[in-house]
Amino acid sequence: MASFIIRRILIIIPMMFIVSFICFFLTELQPGDFVSQYLENPRISPEQIELIKERLGLDQPAMTRYLMWLKQIFTKGDFGYSFAFKRPVIDLIWERMGWTISIALSTILFQWIVAVPLGIFSALHPYKMWDYILTFIAFIGISIPNFFFALVLMYLTNSSGGLFSSQFIGEPLTWAKFYDLLQHVWLPIAVIGLSGLAGLMRVMRGNMLDMLGAPFVNSLRARGLPEKKVRKHVIKNALNPMISIAGMELPNIFSGTVITAIVLNLPTMGPFFYTALLNHDQYLVMTFLMFIAFITQIGNLLADILLAVLDPRIRMS
């Protein structure tokens, strides 16, 4: 087990190199650069544009900039400087991490707490009215675009997004502020959570149905095990594939909800990343992409470890 974990951790290093290389050159393919936005500004002379380019190192070839960036990371732990904010990118990302992680984890929790029991319920009552109703709702959840669902919910609830009413922003935490947060935060959790929830529920239902028809279940029943205990074994086995899915959930929630976060006016990384991408703020974009790549790999690693812990067959193999 230890060698498995070490091996997996070591694989992360070359993977991150490959990802950084691909990401850097993908961002290079985007037409223009950071100073392109200044071209049409009559206040900025062509000489000044050249000077800004020189100062930001944008006059250097892409390969040189990429190697310099890597060198700074290895020698100083410096992921670069945001062209727009004139600050280290790590600080800017860190400032937005609190709400990003809080909302992501709450959403995942919400998805699992709702999806798993509903999936089990649906599978235990297959092809009955409630199964059809839940399946119908699940398909709506999968097919409806998140941002559109957000707009509809905001319209219906007369909400204007955000996490707090304006008078509570920046105020110290009180019960009134916490209550205000609860009044706002359910909307992003419900909206971002719904599509993933629907998918998870369908997977859980499918797994359960597979397991319910598996030979070992027949065997358990034949040996006279009470139905309650049989179900416990079925659920435990049906949960295994869900753990692999969990590994992929985190990056999805970080990066896959940009438009929704803009519509919901959330102070998270998504909209910030989107603006950085539009502004060609290259090192900010790169560091964010590297972060996503890193948590994807960590998520997968944790899922594999958890799977090994829960399933002796995997551990043995």
């Binding site: 223009g32 000044q48 102070p267």
Partner: protein
């Protein structure tokens, strides 16, 4: 003894005059105020910095504008230049020396404002080529930079290399920084380090100013709060210290729909509204909504007025040749259906305007262009093209050059909806007279790159209006870096016109001279004449087809006082004179 008393009285009078705060006029304070409360506005993104000269971010400018001031300022309604941190000034007889007498003002931390602050700001920020938002170009006359010299703590002199008409206008954009706070923070060995001052992680008590408000709190991506500056130097006509509000809040709202929802629910006190939202909001107002929706004569640089231009240096020689013909461009203007564009694209909320100088700009507008502007007359356009020999030779419905090649060109535009729609309507009008115009819609930065590298045939673009045309010289005067319809007039080495004005047509030369004379003339009447010549030449020779200018559309909470529409149709308000009723 009598003499001594007289002298003492005079000195006392002079000192009290110096110390007297500025009184804002009735235009901004028609109603007697209630003091206190908070004004809540919105911005579309977080500020990238709080350093006016370290960034080119519009949101940062909006916020910095609330806590910084310049030596002179523009009246928020009339745009007339008026004293700010400089209480008065004298201009020498040769118009090359200006002596400024500074107002007795305190920074928000209580320190006195002095001539050192002005010298410090010009040296380290405005005239520092490494400061990202520097203003070197604006303070350079005939290749030489304006110099500032301290006379004493409250007096300084500006030495101009030559008389410079827009000097006070450019000075109104020059916010002054506190040297006592920033002097020790500048790395002398790296002049570019000034960009890293007052970034968004700076403790806000280190950011001081002379403006009506001072930064109080910044919650990342959510809100910027400013509080009243107790040392602000303006009062109202009843003697109340300005601003009236104790607090000014900017909510960060990225999505326009959410912004509109917040305004409707009363969370935002006033906001600029889009033409598409106007009918709905107006209906809500008429149904008794808690706000008033204004449509006003445009006075602001934005929304930028749309223009269409043709590349005189297009790679296709046949096209370039016709684009250089005045009659072709005139025919294109006859084919431009401005009324339809105003009705369909702008919901009737746009004016023909006198772009690039707005009719509301009394200092420079030349009404003669209204007679010269060609209206929508497609038959006349077709007849003119016929006369030029551009007729359909092969019966395919499209006009051809004499060589037999089809007269066709590509019109590039950005993805912004109003631009796309305008380009489409124009192309349809051209189709009706047999001119093939293909549209190429692209990202705005790509459009800028294509246009500014001369890699286009026709282009639809928009540049904001400025109160002083000289500030737009780089765009509208031939031979400069944004006069992109005819780059052959620019020397690629210097990015300025060739010394011998090579490749310029006669009318382009006249425009060049008008801008040169307008730049050095100090007499406003003379300047108006020169820029009037330019406007007439533009209307006659149409290097740019100006389409229209969106009106100033504003939604305002009914609870706000001192926000009104003047008799000439423009909106009158200032953040420091508004109050909650």
């Amino acid at each position: 003894m009598k003499k001594l008393v007289c002298l003492f009285t005079l000195v006392f009078f002079a000192i009290s005059l110096m110390a007297a705060p500025a009184v804002v006029d009735e235009l901004l304070t028609p109603e007697q105020p209630k003091l206190g409360g908070a004004l809540t506005l919105s911005v579309t993104s977080s500020p990238q910095s709080f350093n006016f000269y370290g960034t080119l971010d519009g949101v940062a400018y909006t916020i910095a504008g609330q806590f910084l001031n310049g030596l002179v300022e523009m009246h928020p309604v009339t745009n007339a230049l008026q004293p700010a941190l400089a209480e008065s000034w004298e201009v020498s007889a040769d118009n090359k020396e200006v002596t400024f007498y500074l107002r007795d003002v305190k920074w928000s931390d209580g320190e006195p404002f002095t001539a050192d602050d002005v010298i410090f700001t010009f040296e380290n920020f405005l005239l520092n080529k490494f400061a990202e938002g520097n203003s070197i170009a604006r303070f350079t006359i005939n290749g030489e930079v304006v110099k500032f010299e301290k006379v004493n703590d409250k007096t300084l002199k500006a030495h101009l290399p030559a008389p410079y008409g827009p000097f006070f206008t450019v000075l109104s954009h020059a916010s002054i920084y506190p040297s006592h706070i920033l002097k020790d923070k500048i790395d002398e060995s790296d002049p570019g380090s000034v960009n890293e001052l007052w970034t968004t992680d700076t403790p806000l008590n280190e950011i001081v100013g002379t403006g009506p408000f001072v930064l109080d709190q910044y919650v990342v991506d959510q809100k910027v709060t400013l509080r009243k500056n107790e040392h602000y130097w303006k009062v109202d006509r009843w003697g109340n210290q300005l601003p009236y509000f104790d607090q000014l809040e900017y909510l960060v709202v990225k999505d326009a729909q959410v912004q509109s929802a917040k305004f409707r629910s009363g969370e935002i006190d006033y906001m600029t509204i889009e033409a598409v939202d106007f009918p709905v909001l107006k209906q809500m107002e008429l149904d008794g909504g808690p706000f008033i929706v204004y449509k006003a004569q445009p006075t602001n640089p934005t929304p930028s007025p749309i223009h269409i231009t043709f590349n005189f240096d297009a790679k296709n020689e046949e096209l370039a040749e016709v684009f250089r013909l005045k009659n072709f461009r005139a025919a294109m203007e006859y084919a431009l259906d401005r009324e339809r564009i105003i009705e369909e694209v702008f919901n009737t909320l746009a004016v023909l305007g006198g772009v690039p100088v707005l009719p509301a700009n009394k200092a420079f507008y030349n009404p003669a262009i209204e007679e010269l502007r060609r209206g929508f007359e497609p038959d006349k356009a077709a007849a003119m093209l016929d006369e030029m020999g551009l007729v359909d030779q092969n019966g395919d419905g499209w006009r051809d050059f004499e060589s037999g090649n089809t007269l066709e060109f590509v019109l590039i535009s950005s993805t912004y909806q109003a631009y796309q729609d305008t380009a489409y309507i124009f192309s349809e009008s051209l189709k009706a007279i047999g001119v093939k115009c293909e549209l190429q819609i692209m990202d705005s930065s790509l459009r800028a790159q294509k246009a500014l590298s001369g890699d286009f045939e026709a282009c639809l673009w928009a540049f904001g209006n400025q109160p002083d045309p000289q500030l737009r010289k780089a765009i509208w005067s031939p031979g400069y870096s944004l006069y992109y319809c005819h780059f052959a007039t620019m020397d690629p080495e210097t990015k300025e016109p060739y010394a011998d004005l090579r490749n310029m047509t006669d009318w382009e030369k006249q425009i060049h001279y008008a801008f040169e004379i307008g730049q050095t003339a100090m007499d406003p009447r003379e300047r108006k004449v020169q820029y009037g010549i330019w406007q007439e030449l533009y209307a006659e020779y149409v290097p740019f087809l100006y389409v229209c200018k969106g009106m100033d559309l504003m939604g305002v909470s009914k609870t706000l006082g001192n926000f009104h529409q003047t008799d000439n149709g423009s909106l009158a308000y200032a953040v420091y004179t508004m109050f909650k009723k």
